[in-house]
Symmetry: C3
Subunit: 138 residues, 3 copies
């Protein structure tokens, strides 16, 4: 049994900035001594989402518009009334759509579709340096 812990560092430009993590993940997997297993990537933080999508500008705009509909930026949040951060919507989006994502990998490669990328969606209301943790077991 093996476990490996890797970190991925990214810089985001604020709300809705969506970053394709797939090539970084592929690189980690290709150099890992664990060939097959399950990978779990998490944002240690409460204002971002990790998911999969076709990394194409149109559909990424569609995704963030859908998030905007569910948890709009410009309406009052209890969180903001108490803390004044102005990022109540960011917390809600992360809690609804998930701060971690798990996927299988086989022979050093993630099991993904051709048009499917693993992405980080910044939900916070300002640019952030993010340190994601990618755990491999297998």
């Amino acid at each position: 049994m093996s476990v490996e812990t890797h970190t991925l560092e990214i810089e985001t430009q604020g709300t809705n900035h969506t970053i394709d993590l797939t090539s970084k993940i592929r690189e980690v997997l290709s150099r890992s001594s664990i060939l097959s297993g399950v990978a779990c990537i998490i944002l240690p933080g409460s204002t971002g989402v990790i998911t999969t999508i076709e990394y194409e500008p149109g559909v990424i705009k569609d995704l963030t518009e859908a998030m905007e509909k569910v948890a709009p930026r410009n309406r009052p949040y209890h969180h903001d009334q108490a803390w004044g951060d102005g990022n109540g919507f960011s917390h809600v989006r992360s809690a609804l759509f998930g701060a971690s994502f798990s996927f299988p990998f086989v022979k050093g490669k993630p099991i993904l579709g051709t048009w499917q990328q693993i992405v980080f969606v910044e939900c916070d209301n300002r640019p952030r340096k993010r340190r994601l943790v990618l755990q491999l077991v297998g």
Copy 2:
């Protein structure tokens, strides 16, 4: 440590077709040499959702109506303007609600409630043959 990779093949009838995967998953687990661990099932593709629900026609209709509300089929999507696929809503639903699902298994059985099934929700706008990957580590 053991890892096993299985595939589940299904055919869907297009948008909102929801297929109960539980009996196929139970069969894989009952024949596996790995008794306990974590299972991760993924759609290698960007237009479907894997989740759990009581597999009962009424609530499945309720689920797809809720998805319809969040990402309606009949409104313009940036994705469709660029690619003409007409399935922008499919991508958005998959990204929001998740193309993978993880669950524990013990003594060859998935840890699920009595009225809880693991399902695939087709989000694409046409019938698809789907090949899901079920990874077992344990």
Copy 3:
């Protein structure tokens, strides 16, 4: 390779009651013989959600208001017409936002942000005793 199965028992007060699971999870991890790996926690049931959020009353109210918007309590559901449970909305919320959550742990500690807690959101329409299953592989 090691696998451990733990259970967490909680009592909820009904719809939207949100319980911080983090200290219970930390306790399990600190006593486990598995130092590092992936943890998967699931509700064996179809009317609850497990996710992460800053455990702060304001933002928890924001989260449940957002769920209310997507799957309102007071509108007709097909599930209720067939079964009369009155908890169609509960099933829909659980299916959309997820009954399981996975996260890495390292040296006996979960990888989480400072303001990020793992929570159970009761979606059912009555108080429930819940037995969550936490599986560790590593």
